[in-house]
Structure formats: C-alpha cells, structure tokens
C-alpha cells in the first residue's frame, strides 16, 4: 500500500513537471532564441510588491537594471520605471507539441521591461524560457531513446527467451558485447562517426537513435529472463497443447507478463538517457545552438568566469535534481510493487 501511495505521488509530480515542459511556450515569457544583447548575464529579476513610497500592490512589478553611472558599482534597479507583471499576455508565437500555434503567455511585462526569472545568459536570452524549452529537447531525447532500447529489448529478449537454443546463445553473446563496452566511450566513438556539420535536428535524431540502439542489452536480458519463466507456466503450456501458434502465445500469454518489467525499465532508462544527452551536449558533442537543451544550458559553466561570477547560471543544474529524484522514486515504487505482485 505504501508503495502505491509513493508511486501515485511520484506520477502526479512527474505529470506536473512534464506539463510545464510540454507547454513551455505558454509558461515561458519569451522565445528561447530571443536575444537582448544589451543585457548579458542579467541576474534573476526580483519581483516587487511594495513601491518606493511603501505602498503595497497585489500585482507584482519589476524594475529594469540600468547602469548606476558610477564606476565600480555595476547596475542598479531603475526605480523610476516600474513594469507591472501582466498575466495571459500576447507575445512571441510558439507551438505546443509542434502542432497548436499560439502567442498567449502566462505572464510577461511590457516592452522595455524585461523579466528574467532565472537570469539571462551571455546573449541576454532568458534562462527560464530556455530551461523550459530545453526540457522539451532533453526529455524528448530521453523518451525516444528509452522507447527504442525497450522495443529492441522486447524483440531480442522475447525471441531469445522463447526459442532458446543457439538463437538464445547468439543473441545473448551479442548483448554481452554491448554490456562489456564502456558505454559512454562507445557513445563518444559513435558520435565521432557522425558528421559534425549537419543540421541540428539531424544531429539530435541521430544522437538519440544511437543512444537507444546501444542500450538494448540490459532490457533484453531482463525480458529474456521473464519470458523464460513465463513460457513454462502451466497455462502457457496448456495453450500450446491446444495448438496455439507461437505468435499467439507470445502476444497473448508471454509478453503481457513482461509489462511490469518494461514499465520499470522505462522509468529507469528515461532519466539515464536524459543524462546522457545532457552529458554529450555539455561536452560539445550533442545538440548545438541555437536549439536549447539542458546540456547546452550547463555547458556555459565550463568557462571559469561564468562559474565564478554568475551564480544563477547554476540554477538549471539544481532544478534537475528534483526531477531525477521523482523519476527514481517512481522506478523504485514500481519495482517494489512489481515484486509484491509476482510473489
């Protein structure tokens, strides 16, 4: 029962986080590529509720940063021009899931004002918007790669476990080859084989499919194990005795028994692949500019001056931790739940 509650909690949180990312265009005040060249590395914009005269407002407002005019003091807030934060404003056009076009944003401020909730990067692009849009790329990478791995895993593991014999031996030895490789190294080696100068979307798709293709061995092994024991269960043997074909047996009786493992594997693999994409992009081998991904958001931290002077560039990294926590919690609960079901 406790595991079920844990699972429900994790799934709810996960859904909330994912909908933020899916509707990035709506929640983000700006487009991910909009540059404000005059405002590089702006610190996170503070939301104010009290003005200079001490009056309290319900609607939050912000001040732009301007040059203080004195050397060595940097920027100060421009108290003469408050910009109230408006909700449901029209702004940069975007598409949700690549289909529904809109230009409605949850919040925004009027033009010369700028709202950077997580600060801005070297080109004056809003980090908050880039974090949300970057999540789309990174999560999509994780999802596609995980689906690919698991589907190959089902086919290979199912065949190996169901037919056994030399087929099994051959497929599992092949899988060992993939398990024996240092996979991050292999990913690099494969990335080296891809041309460096092709369109960013092609890079993305190639990268994702390579990640997915490399990772099939572990799910295949697990599925093979389940199939091995499943095909010896009495009702499967009975169905075979009634003359059921292999395809029918696999579809109706054997593969449904692997769904629990599949789900657990998916929840484990998605964050792993998200991390792989982040790592590759961080090292400059993944998805490149101008597409934002969580890896490219972090890669600016490789420069010492960014790391030491602009603490808010670190925020995306910190926001990843709760996401992974939720994913692992879900996987953990699924595993426990699955265990208690089979026992």
């Amino acid at each position: 029962m406790r595991h079920k509650q844990k699972l429900v909690g994790a799934v709810v949180l996960l859904a909330a986080f994912q909908s933020f990312i899916l509707f990035a265009g709506f929640f983000a005040p700006y487009d991910f590529a909009t540059q404000e060249r005059e405002r590089p590395f702006a610190p996170p914009t503070a939301l104010h509720f009290t003005d200079t005269r001490g009056n309290v407002h319900i609607r939050p407002f912000i001040y732009n940063l301007i040059d203080s005019g004195r050397s060595g003091e940097g920027n100060r807030a421009d108290f003469d021009h408050p910009y109230p934060v408006h909700f449901f404003v029209r702004g940069a056009p975007y598409k949700i899931a690549g289909v529904f076009a809109s230009n409605m944003h949850l919040f925004g401020v009027e033009a010369p004002g700028h709202i950077f909730l997580m600060g801005s990067d070297a080109y004056g692009r809003d980090q908050f918007s880039r974090f949300l849009f970057g999540g789309q790329i990174s999560m999509l990478a994780g999802l596609i790669a995980a689906i690919l791995s698991v589907s190959i895993g089902i086919v290979v593991g199912g065949i190996a476990g169901f037919y056994g014999g030399w087929v099994d031996e051959l497929l599992m030895r092949g899988g060992e080859l993939f398990l024996a490789l240092p996979w991050l190294y292999l990913l690099f080696a494969v990335r080296a084989a891809l041309p460096l100068h092709i369109s960013q979307w092609e890079v993305f798709l190639l990268l994702v499919s390579v990640m997915g293709l490399i990772g099939w061995a572990r799910p295949a092994r697990l599925i093979r194990g389940v199939v091995l024991s499943a095909k010896q269960r009495n009702f499967v043997v009975a169905a075979r005795g009634f003359g059921a074909s292999d395809a029918y047996l696999l579809r109706r009786h054997v593969l449904p028994q692997t769904y629990g493992i599949l789900l657990t594997q998916m929840t484990l693999l998605i964050p792993q692949y998200v991390l792989a994409e982040v790592t590759l992009t961080f090292l400059g081998l993944g998805v490149g500019e101008p597409l934002p991904s969580w890896g490219s958001l972090l890669s600016s931290l490789q420069q010492y001056y960014v790391l030491s002077s602009y603490w808010w560039m670190f925020l995306p990294a910190l926001f990843l931790i709760p996401l992974f926590l939720v994913f692992y919690t879900a996987a953990d609960a699924l595993q426990e739940l699955h265990k208690s079901v089979t026992l």
């Binding site: 024996a180 490789l181 080696a189 494969v190 460096l196 790391l307 990294a317 926590l325």
Partner: protein
C-alpha cells in the same frame, strides 16, 4: 584451469568483437582528419593525398583493420594524426594519470563503504541507518555532472584547492617531497568527487549483502555460542557476504579507465577522458580506437578477475 582457459577464450572473442565494431563505426564517418586540410588553399591536394596514403587511409576497410590488428598485437596502437606521434606512449602516459585518479578514489570509496555498510546493516532500521539511507538516496539522484560542477564552483569560489591540471606551473623546480604534495593537492578534488559519485552504490551493496547474511541461522548460532559480536561480524559474516562484493570490486577495477571521463573533463585532469573528447572532435581515429580498446580491455579483465576471485573464494561455484 579449464574454466580459466574457457573464460580467457571468451574474453578474447569479446574484445575482438568490440574492436571490429568500433573500427567499422569509426570508419563509417564521412571525412577524416585530413579532410579539413582540403579547404586550406595553402595545402595542395597532392599533399593531402600523399598524407592519406602515408597513413594508409586510402586503403579498404578490411585491409586497414588487418594492418591495425597486426600492429596492435605487437603493441603498436597506430599513429595519432593530431599529435604526430605513435598512440601507445601518448595513451600510456594519460592512462597513468587516470589510474592515479581512479585508484585513489576507489581506495577512498571502498574504505568508507565497507565499514559504513557493515555499520548500517548492524543498526538496520535505527535512526543512523535511516539517515544514512536518506543521504545515499539523495546522492544517487544528484547527476555526476552537477556534482562535479558544484565541486568546481567550490574550488573556484574558495580558492582552497588548485583547479585544473595535475601540477602547478612551478612543478619542475620543486624537490621530490614538494612534488608529491603538489600532485596530491591537485588530486584531492577530482578524487573526492569521483569517490562521492561511486560511494552510494557501493554502500548499498555492502549493506544489503551484510543484511542478508546477518539473517542466516548460522549467525544466530554463532551469537548463541557467545562469540564476541566483533568476531561474528568480521570473521563469520563478512567472508560470506563477500561474493557480491568481489563481483562489484572487479567491476570497479574494470571501470578504472572509463569511469572518470566526466570528472577529468570538468576538473581538467590530464587523463584519458580529455584526450578522447579532443580526438573525437578532430577525428583522430586511432587515438579513439586506442582509448576505447584500452578501456574495454580493462573492463573485460576486471570482470574476469572478479570471476576468478569468486572461483577461488567461493567453494559453491567450484562445485557447479
């Protein structure tokens, strides 16, 4: 003995498979190290052609693989285009640095994991164990990338640790003792980061292995005989719990070359990691091949070592 020979044969086959696989993939790439030279008006196309044929890049794939394999069996991993030198000494020097780093961190992680794991297995369910469990779960969810960046931030902000490289600029002027201190100072941060990254997994395994053994009847019998708790734990329980730990130890030996890529790149430790990333960007194929092969050899050898150790340590396996 027969078991040993069979395992060795399998390992060799595996390595051969890995080498063919990575070789083919690397050569599938359009263009090579010399292609950007074609765009350079100062280099004639004849020079490029000559360079390519000098390094054998104009030959067919199986021929090149044959040449490469033949050379590798003689200990020559081929030429590095970018460094204009053989790959072997280049790789060996970098591998030494990597092993210094991973060896230190492994020592650190295991020396912490075993006593802590035993302790929390003994105090299972008490607040100490629960707190430890919460900390390890939390550490598991922190991506390594973020962890290393935090350490880098710490180093840059506080200035307590030197960042980047393995030695200070004045290294050659120092005497032996100061040289060792200098390397140790540079080593501290990356080794600590790597140890923190691996500790949670080790700790969990030690704890669960010990818990399983401590529930066994023979432990209760030993306790009932009035044998001191310390002796029960270390002399009776630990050797029985060792089997999964030996496998794990073999695995961590095996990843000694490949586990530290990220920490090396982020904290700029001059190991194999940065070399590999650079080589990939410029398509220095034999360096990539060498690095991949060397780390695969380590991984396979580590697993082999673990299996042989298990074979020696656990009589139950020998019977099968």
């Amino acid at each position: 003995m027969k078991y040993c020979a069979r395992r060795l044969f399998h390992a060799t086959l595996l390595l051969l498979g890995v080498s063919i696989f990575s070789f083919v993939i690397l050569q599938l790439a359009p263009g090579d190290f010399f292609s950007p030279m074609r765009l350079n008006p100062q280099i004639s196309s004849r020079t490029v052609t000559r360079l390519r044929s000098q390094y054998g890049l104009d030959q067919s794939l199986p021929v090149r693989y044959g040449h490469w394999l033949h050379a590798v069996l003689k200990g020559d991993l081929g030429p590095s285009f970018a460094y204009n030198s053989p790959v072997t000494p280049l790789l060996v020097a970098r591998a030494r640095n990597t092993i210094l780093l991973t060896g230190t961190s492994m020592l650190l992680a295991w020396m912490l994991a075993i006593p802590l794991g035993i302790w929390s297995a003994v105090h299972r369910g008490k607040w100490g164990d629960r707190a430890g469990g919460a900390v390890t779960s939390a550490l598991l969810t922190v991506p390594d990338l973020v962890l290393f960046l935090v350490l880098l931030l710490l180093a840059v902000r506080t200035g307590w640790f030197p960042t980047g490289g393995m030695v200070s600029a004045s290294f050659s002027d120092l005497n032996l003792w100061d040289k060792m201190k200098d390397v140790a100072a540079h080593l501290f941060l990356p080794a600590l980061g790597l140890a923190i990254a691996t500790l949670p997994t080790l700790l969990r395994h030690v704890r669960s292995a010990m818990i399983e053994v401590l529930e066994a009847p023979f432990i209760r019998a030993a306790r009932a005989h009035g044998i001191a708790e310390r002796r029960v734990l270390l002399r009776y329980a630990l050797p029985v719990a060792a089997s999964p730990l030996i496998s794990l130890f073999g695995f961590s030996l095996g990843t000694m070359l490949s586990a530290s890529l990220l920490v090396e790149v982020i904290l700029s430790w001059p190991g194999i990691g940065p070399l590999l990333v650079e080589a990939i960007v410029v398509k220095d194929v034999y360096v990539v091949m060498g690095a991949v092969m060397l780390s695969s050899v380590f991984l396979v050898a580590g697993n082999l070592f673990a299996d042989l150790m298990l074979f020696a340590a656990d009589p139950r396996i020998r019977v099968e």
